[in-house]
Symmetry: C2
Subunit: 275 residues, 2 copies
């Protein structure tokens, strides 16, 4: 099942969908939907009817627009770690973003004051139920679904100090979407191709089976530290191929189109604008 | 003027006070209070009446319980930086906490799974109005007030990876309070003594005039990255004297009482409990 938040009539609506299209529901967004009583039965019932709506790709917003917590994992693709000569880490490297950092799947990404703007295609994990000090099975059961994201990074700000946060938290710079695919319908551990292209040229090409810490590992690990709630998000790290790793980095420029895709989850398509 | 959130009758209430005591207001907490119309005039009017209530110190909760963003600044006391032989930084080192990380001014701090629990007395800055891409004057005008905080840190978790977040974000481990003092009534730049004692032994003893990046610097800097809203918090870093800096670190143990105080802002008194 697919879950989305659709911008319509000056507001937003939750939507449930499949490969045939979308059904708009009463809740204002998918985050409200998944905390409402009996949502899954209602969503499944809606999809048993053949009626579908076409939704303009530009109408999709952030699927879960108010996460209280957004965690990101650094260095997490085994093949990329090995190619850089580093040891496979014992613990996930975690930093945070904010709800305000997120933006829609085809929104323009407007930046300023950076000369080193980079891309990072990432698998996003969305939490569906409260989870605290969970083992791996409990963590897996708490995962609502998955989406595509791009941890767009201001490397100059990121490298000003030892802590990465300031290069990762500019408002409305991390696209996520285009929708969630629920965890019963897709398994990143089975191996999903993950790519990032700039102006059509594929620069990252990895596979989610290479994750050192998979979705359930990360939910379990984070839940030892803090209680996670429905709508909270964990970004799982990026494979090789970012500008930072190039001998002569090709930083993002005004007008560049960044296309981020994960097999079975859809794609983001964001144009970069320098304000 | 002092602002607090008081636990009472199974809920909470905003309170306004001065050196004579407290007046309870209708809003459920100080964060709701300061976004309500005409709050400052109402609070001042309440304080013109002589009636005051005594409030049990244990009744004070987190003054602003739902910050959307909690930023923390590392390495920020000039005397401490110089004594460790490092250069005074050009940019603030920033990391995040969450609303759930906070706890009340005399609450027990319950921890587990750590063998290196440390204290960090810090001045907390609370934002009072929306602020985005602000210069220093605009940033100063957006500061609601100040409080005492302690960035209690699990050094073992903090040092597992390059990013500090996981050692800084355990639920209910960062006390803040006992109340806010509004920015018109106190000036940390003028120099406020800041101390942390464990079981009565003073182990940190600094002064807020030594801040490399002062409150308005930090609000301005963070506001270049993200929009700040009323109730958002910036912790401004800690002076020398933490366990981590000792030759033979004296980590916190079950039953230790940590007293964190800032001149003019009051004190926190938290007992450590290992679950």
């Amino acid at each position: 099942m697919r879950l989305a938040t659709v911008r319509i009539d000056g507001g937003t609506r939750a939507a449930v969908g499949d490969e045939s299209g979308w059904v708009l529901l009463d809740e204002p967004d998918a985050q409200e939907l998944v905390v409402s009583e009996g949502w899954r039965e209602r969503a499944e019932a809606a999809l048993r009817h053949p009626a579908r709506e076409d939704v303009d790709p530009a109408a999709f917003g952030v699927p879960v627009p108010r996460p209280a917590k957004v965690f990101c994992c650094g260095l997490n693709y085994r093949d990329h770690i090995v190619e850089t000569g580093r040891a496979v880490p014992e613990y996930p490297t975690l930093f945070a973003k904010f709800a305000d950092t997120l933006t829609g799947p085809v929104d323009e990404i407007v930046v300023r004051d950076t000369a080193k703007l980079d891309w990072e295609a990432e698998l996003a994990v969305v939490v569906g139920s409260e989870v605290h000090r969970a083992d791996k099975d409990e963590a897996a059961a708490a995962i609502l679904g998955y989406a595509v994201s791009n941890d767009v990074s201001m490397r100059d700000w990121q490298q000003r100090t030892l802590q990465w946060l300031q290069g990762k938290a500019f408002d409305a710079t991390t696209p996520i979407g285009p929708h969630l695919v629920t965890a019963d319908a897709i398994d990143p551990k089975a191996g999903l191709r993950i790519t990032c292209a700039v102006n059509g040229e594929t620069l990252q090409d990895g596979n989610t089976r290479e994750l050192v810490f998979d979705a359930a590992d990360l939910v379990s690990y984070v839940s030892q530290i803090t209680r996670l709630q429905p709508g909270d998000i964990i970004l799982t790290g990026t494979p090789g191929g970012v500008a930072l790793g190039m001998e002569d980095p090709r930083w993002l420029r005004d007008g560049d189109v960044v296309t981020t895709a994960i097999e079975g989850l859809g794609e983001l398509r964001n144009t970069i604008r320098f304000a």
